[in-house]
Symmetry: C2
Subunit: 404 residues, 2 copies
């Protein structure tokens, strides 16, 4: 059994770094806050003998040796970066619960057979730098480091510049290494477990997601003297597109999702009809084939506009639907049963570093419920009892995997 007080105090101490007045956290990837958060985490790791290393994507690994040096490590990872409107649990909980698991083993001087590595993946959120999960993505070979290095934030700072500025540029090259299994504990970020009154979700897979940037272009002109009928106002094109794409996605049923998180005009001047309206599209569905056809239809609608306008679409990211390793799923189910937890299988609606890890080796995820299913919001809340249950399932799953 993990130590409840210590786990909660890890979480509440970390929440001070980048704390917002409304209770949430803004500790975006590769900022000074991110650096401070990782520094605090490392202090805790070093205190129980963890040995850390950093790679060229800013992924942070902390190794705890096992009794058999020929065995491959078990990874327990998640992320410490947050959304601009972030809470105190998304990602953070997975990292700090892994830390608490190692503290618990350390309390009783228990050494596992396999070595264990806690991993803090870089830029999981994808809000400052597109796409999400870029640290684990490059690690897995599915994303190219040179592409990500060039990704720029809204201030024009590149990923590579931010890595250096935040002292997170490691000396090791970012590349995968063999591991025996990878576990990630995370909050659900959705309403299902709470509605079903379960304390543990055994994650069977992750839905597919496609990110696009759509630019609708018209022509700038003066807001005063230009008659409405002479305008090529891209806001009017947007107003025709929006209802059609939301309606299209709803035709795909309850499991389909569409989000326009970024929306902006260029130039942004009150008395000038804009030349461009630019918006992001985040489309998701648990079934890859459905996601593909839905995406195609939505993009067609974004281009189905009067010929006075131009529409340009760039795909920013595609993370196909995946399924987790059956053995890891079994291990998590078994740990939940051992602990007498109410558990259920669940498909993740959010992307996680485990998606990329699952392409390299046996990977599994554990979910706990969060209040009202709210995440990416300062109100994000998880009941302490669930935090403890999840950490205990992580501990027992780790023992099952690392004692083999």
């Amino acid at each position: 059994q993990i130590n409840t007080e210590r786990l909660l105090s890890f979480i509440s101490e970390m929440a001070h770094i980048g704390a917002k007045s409304n209770g949430g956290c803004n500790r975006q990837a590769l900022t000074e806050e991110d650096r401070l958060g990782r520094e605090l985490f490392l202090t805790w790791c070093h205190a129980i003998g963890g040995v850390s290393r950093l790679d060229s994507m800013g992924n942070l690994f902390v190794r705890f040796e096992g009794t058999n040096p020929t065995k491959l490590p078990v990874l327990m990872g998640s992320h410490l970066d947050t959304q601009p409107s972030g809470g105190n649990f998304d990602g953070i909980y997975g990292v700090l619960a892994a830390l608490e698991v190692m503290y618990t083993l350390n309390d009783t001087n228990q050494k596992l057979v396999h070595p264990v590595e806690i991993v803090v993946w870089s830029n999981e959120e994808g809000c400052r730098f597109t796409p999400a999960m870029s640290g684990s993505g490059v690690f897995s070979g599915k994303l190219k480091q040179s592409d990500i290095y060039q990704s720029v934030d809204d201030q024009g700072i590149s990923y590579q510049e931010a890595l250096i500025a935040s002292a997170q540029m490691g000396t090791e090259e970012c590349q995968s290494f063999p591991f025996s299994a990878a576990l990630e504990l995370h909050i659900e970020q959705g309403p299902i477990l709470e509605a079903e009154q379960k304390s543990i979700g055994i994650v069977t897979g992750v839905q597919g997601m496609n990110w696009y940037q759509v630019t609708v272009s018209g022509e700038t002109t003066h807001a005063g003297p230009t008659p409405m009928l002479m305008r090529k106002d891209p806001v009017q094109a947007l107003m025709a597109i929006l209802p059609k794409i939301y309606a299209k996605v709803s035709e795909y049923g309850e499991q389909a999702r569409i989000t326009i998180g970024k929306l902006t005009t260029i130039p942004s001047s009150t008395n000038t009809v804009p030349e461009h309206v630019i918006f992001s599209l985040d489309l998701r569905h648990p079934t890859q084939k459905v996601l593909d056809s839905m995406s195609k239809e939505v993009l067609n609608l974004c281009q189905d506009i009067p010929s006075i306008f131009n529409s340009n679409i760039e795909q920013l990211w595609a993370s196909p639907a995946i399924e987790f390793d059956p053995r890891c799923i079994d291990v998590i189910r078994c740990a939940s049963t051992q602990l007498n937890m109410d558990a259920m299988p669940i498909v993740s609606g959010a992307g996680h570093d485990s998606v990329y890890l699952s392409s390299l080796g046996p990977t599994g995820m554990i979910f706990v419920p969060c209040k009202d299913g709210i995440s990416h919001n300062e109100k994000e809340h998880v009941e302490p009892e669930h935090l403890v249950s999840g950490a205990n399932v992580l501990l027992h799953s780790l023992i099952l995997l690392a004692e083999e």
Copy 2:
């Protein structure tokens, strides 16, 4: 008759400062480019004996003495700042044509009875700092200097800070002084003169304009796991508002205008449903009463949204419809007749510094046509023959007013 070559070379030399690759200009108020443009202008003024002074709003006055020191000055003013998507004529033409008029008088050593002051009003465009026409607005007493000083640009830099940084903070307090008349020559920025094949517009008045900032608020949540029906997505509220407000304005007929120049989401993150959608509203109509009722209806529609959303409206600016001085109108008509110009009366769709000047003393405006009515766009173009016609009408109007 003014010197065509010299006028065109003033305009083309000024166009180099803040030049964009597509032929336009980005020389926004109180930037380094604005400072350089004013410096160039001052070199030209000083060469023919103009004496300059700067006030606490960054308004720049260049005085040329007349033969009778007891007479009040005639002002000829406009602005040198541009939109981010600015052309080479909006405002600039009025200032540089006034300069050419003084050069022409200087060529023949002609002294007028009244002193003349060329005025470069600060931040006319209102794109960097809200509202527009703020230099002349404070000069007229209709806007408060302390309010404008606090206006911030998108980078969070205040008007006051920008005044100092661009070395445009003058030692004189910004306040009005008596003048015998004020003239402004400007491009029409609309399609009427071109359609009517006139080379001169005798501006009888300026339509009314209201600026608002509308914030529609929902709740941030995760783009993946959150079911569509659980969302409070302000983009969906926006999508319902937009068609209603455009339709409402079109009910007010051809003369009514609505422009959404700024539109943005907060936080701006691809995988987060935004909390806020913020947009600017620029509403215009030549008849103040009609503008008032139209504005009220549009704002009501912005608030008529499902109760899961909040809507907040801030009025940023109101510039009521005005009429110009009958004597100035007569003088411009007379000058056009003397010069055998095809002239017509016209109401301005754009706001101008003359709106605020007209509350202080006799004020008049001269328009020339611009190609396809396009302005606030790098393509903005005015035929040289029209540039020359306008400057000659300005010269002759000035002589009529300053010889009295």
